[in-house]
C-alpha cells in the first residue's frame, strides 16, 4: 500500500491506498480528526474506490460525498482529505 499523511487545522489525516490504472482500488483513512456521523468514514472509503487519482477528480468526489452524506468534520474539509490522498498516491510504501 502507498502511504501519506497531511496535517489539517484539526488533526492529522493518514491515508493508505492501493491503485490500479491510476485509480484508487483500496483505501484506508485514519487519524485524530472528528467526523459526524462516525460511520460515514467507511462510506467515504467505499465512495473513493474507483476514483481517478488526480486532484480534480478526487476533489469533486470528496465534495460530492460531503453534500450527499451531510457529514461534518470540524476544522477539516474535503481539501485536507485531498492533500492526504495525493501524498499517499505519490508517496512511498506503508
Amino acid at each position: 500500500m502507498y502511504y501519506g499523511e497531511f496535517k489539517a487545522p484539526k488533526g492529522v489525516i493518514k491515508v493508505a491506498l492501493d491503485k490500479e490504472n491510476d485509480r484508487i482500488s483500496n483505501i484506508r483513512i485514519s487519524g485524530d480528526f472528528f467526523m459526524y456521523p462516525e460511520e460515514a468514514i467507511e462510506d467515504l472509503e467505499q465512495f473513493l474506490v474507483g476514483v481517478k487519482i488526480d486532484r480534480e477528480s478526487l476533489l469533486r468526489s470528496l465534495k460530492e460525498f460531503y453534500t450527499k452524506k451531510k457529514v461534518e468534520t470540524p476544522m477539516v474539509g474535503p481539501e485536507h482529505f485531498l492533500e492526504a490522498i495525493m501524498r499517499a498516491a505519490i508517496g512511498g510504501g506503508a
Partner: protein
C-alpha cells in the same frame, strides 16, 4: 431548575468504562436514562484511541504490554489519550441533543465551559480552545471528544492532574525522536497539569467537586447524586465484550 444525575466516582478498566459510556448514551436516547455526569479513573492505566485512529500507527503495543496498560478504541473521534491511574481523571456527560447547541463547536464550548469553570474554582485561569481542548496558560490541560448518536450526545474527556508524561510518549507513536529529552521538554511547553499549575496535587475528589460545580454553572442545572440502573449495568456488561474484542481494537 432542571435536575441531572451525578454518579459516584468510579474506578474501572478501559473496556467497562467505554461500555458504560455507550450504555448510558443509548439508554438516554431511548428515554430510559437521565442526563448524566460521571467521573472515573482507569485501572489499569490505559490508552484510549480515537474512533478513526489506526491502532498500529498510534500505539506501541509492546510498551503497553510491558507496563500492563490496556488499549481501547473509543466511539468518539479525536486523538489517543493516556489515562494514567495515578494522575488523570476522566469525566463523561450524556444529555439529549436538544440540551446543547446543534453547532458542534458551540456544543463543545458549552460542555468544555463546565471544565473551564471547574478549573477556575481550583484557582486556575482556563479557556476553551476549539475544537475540543481546554488550556491553562496556553497549554493543554484537558482534551475532549464528543459523539452524537440516536438523538443524544456523549462527551468525555480527560482532566490532567499529574500524568506520567514520559510513559505517555513511550506508549504513543509520536515521532522517532519521541523520548529524547528535547522532545519531552517541548511537550512540557504544550501540555500541563493541575499539579504543575497549582504547585500541589489535589485529590481526585477535590477535582471532581470543582468540576461538578463548573458543569452545574455551565449547563444551568443542578446535579443530584444517583446510581447506575440495573438496565445500564446489564447493557454495559454486554457492550464490554465489543470494547475488549480484537476486532474492535483493530477496526482501523
Amino acid at each position: 431548575m432542571r435536575v441531572w444525575r451525578l454518579l459516584p466516582l468510579r474506578v474501572d478498566d478501559a473496556f467497562y468504562s467505554m461500555a458504560l459510556d455507550e450504555a448510558i448514551l443509548r439508554l438516554n436516547a431511548e428515554g430510559n436514562s437521565p442526563n448524566t455526569l460521571r467521573f472515573w479513573r482507569w485501572q489499569p492505566s490505559a490508552v484510549s484511541l480515537g474512533y478513526f485512529q489506526s491502532v498500529d500507527r498510534e500505539v506501541d503495543l509492546s510498551v503497553a504490554k510491558k507496563y500492563g496498560v490496556d488499549v481501547v478504541r473509543r466511539i468518539t473521534g479525536g486523538g489517543a489519550v493516556f489515562h494514567d491511574y495515578g494522575g488523570e481523571l476522566t469525566y463523561s456527560v450524556v444529555c439529549k441533543q436538544s440540551d446543547v447547541p446543534s453547532d458542534i463547536i458551540e456544543s463543545y464550548r458549552i460542555i468544555c465551559g463546565g471544565l473551564v469553570k471547574g478549573f477556575e474554582r481550583l484557582g486556575l485561569s482556563a479557556e476553551f480552545k476549539p475544537v475540543n481542548d481546554v488550556v491553562v496558560n496556553g497549554k493543554k490541560i484537558s482534551g475532549n471528544a464528543q459523539t452524537r448518536r440516536f438523538g443524544s450526545v456523549l462527551q468525555h474527556g480527560t482532566i490532567l492532574i499529574d500524568p506520567n508524561i514520559r510513559l505517555m510518549f513511550e506508549l504513543l507513536k509520536v515521532s522517532p525522536e519521541k523520548i529524547s529529552d528535547k522532545f519531552i521538554s517541548s511537550v512540557y511547553e504544550r501540555v500541563t497539569s493541575i499539579t504543575r499549575e497549582l504547585c500541589r496535587k489535589p485529590s481526585f475528589e477535590e477535582v471532581r467537586d470543582a468540576m461538578r460545580f463548573g458543569f452545574e454553572a455551565s449547563f444551568g442545572v443542578k446535579f443530584e447524586d444517583g446510581q447506575l440502573t440495573q438496565e445500564e449495568i446489564n447493557l454495559a456488561e454486554e457492550l464490554r465484550e465489543k470494547y475488549a474484542s480484537k476486532e474492535w481494537l483493530n477496526k482501523r
